[in-house]
Symmetry: C2
Subunit: 234 residues, 2 copies
């Protein structure tokens, strides 16, 4: 029997801050044997707060049972709190102790409004840390806060850190380090373990499925551009 | 006469690595007086390499003249090199010295294939640095490389650094620091100038247009959840 996939659902509502969702999506979607879903009221495209439009693939009614629930933040969070279908969807995960409940930025305020942060330590965008106690949560000003099955990330780009932490919980340190190395987070020059990185890099380079095709495409380019001397990369 | 908007166009092709585009989008779209476009062959939705689907708003034919051209990378870059409409679109910016030409990750290989990196210093995803010389470029292994009007970023998350650098070129240090502080990059605890950050934070908090609405929504939550003691955030 093969192990079933890890199912991750990321909620998308109008006026989400898109990077709250897209940054962790990039990490989550690289976890081995993962099934990704972007969940909304309907599968019609959703405009995010600065105009980028994203298409959900499932709805609150049709979404399969999740192993990880993720809620992004953004200006739309205020209105989303009055969206019954969305709040019911979040609320039903309040009793599922085997589901990781996660948020980035003001997404935490939606978890809170659904009652999922009561008595929990949590974080959110720095402009809203003082709003968390209204939901019975204890605000902590760090990039990622884990309390039982609830794991919250601070503002926007902290979603990368949050998702890497969740990846480590799900698939371990080695697989997560591969994801981080691929998305170059943090950049190699700032990496705490450069020796391990060098080793990992060589291994990943040898396995990269696109290298040969890229070299061939580059050779065509060199011909087209009339570049005959191939320089060595510094 | 009011100054005209800064027009930024981000190219989107099938199997783009979505964070290559979405991370800089978040920064670009927060530049004052900016007009954002996601450009593709048609305005039909485009599936990125790990499934996330994004909707372009203009095409290579209808896109207005750009002040900043941005090209993301991803596995789709190899096929995109044979997309004549896309390559022509990039190519026509080769002679526009007043347009900033930018890329993240293997997007640089598309700039290169269009002949825009000849004789330029540039960077790309670490797995492809040795491909750049086929395009007549000099590979440099740093997060962001600027050479004249061509500015390239390394892999995936380096797009945040790239976009902040472009923002600084366009709107100066102060406005860019506000964007960085809003998206929490880097996180406050890692910020090199914590004193300046404190000052900026207080100012931004006072001006935040959503704070009052969030507090009111939170008060309703506290009532619903029966939370009567409002704790202070730590």
């Amino acid at each position: 029997m093969s192990p079933r996939k890890t199912i991750i659902g990321m909620v998308l509502y109008p006026n989400t801050t898109q990077l709250d969702l897209t940054a962790p999506y990039e990490v989550f979607s690289r976890i081995p044997d993962v099934e990704m879903h972007v969940v909304s009221n309907t599968i019609a495209s959703v405009k995010t707060d600065r105009g980028l439009t994203i298409v959900p693939d499932t709805t609150y009614d049709t979404c399969p049972s999740l192993d990880v629930l993720f809620i992004p933040g953004g200006p739309g969070q205020i209105k989303a709190q009055d969206d019954k279908a969305l709040m019911d969807f979040i609320g039903k995960y309040g009793n599922k102790k085997d589901c990781l409940i996660s948020s980035v930025c003001t997404g935490a305020l939606l978890l809170g409004a659904a009652g999922l942060l009561r008595g929990k330590k949590a974080t959110t965008h720095w402009t809203c840390l003082d709003v968390l106690p209204y939901m019975g949560a204890v605000a902590v000003d760090t990039p990622v806060v884990e309390d039982g099955n609830v794991i919250t990330g601070a503002g926007v780009t902290n979603g990368i850190d949050l998702a890497l932490r969740i990846a480590e919980n799900l698939c371990g340190k080695d697989a997560t380090q591969r994801i981080a190395r691929f998305i170059e987070y943090p950049h190699a020059s700032a990496h705490p373990d450069r020796v391990a990185l060098e080793r990992l890099s060589k291994e990943m380079l040898a396995q990269n499925p696109y290298r040969q095709a890229r070299i061939e495409a580059a050779e065509r380019t060199a011909k087209q551009l009339g570049i005959s001397v191939i320089q060595k990369a510094s």
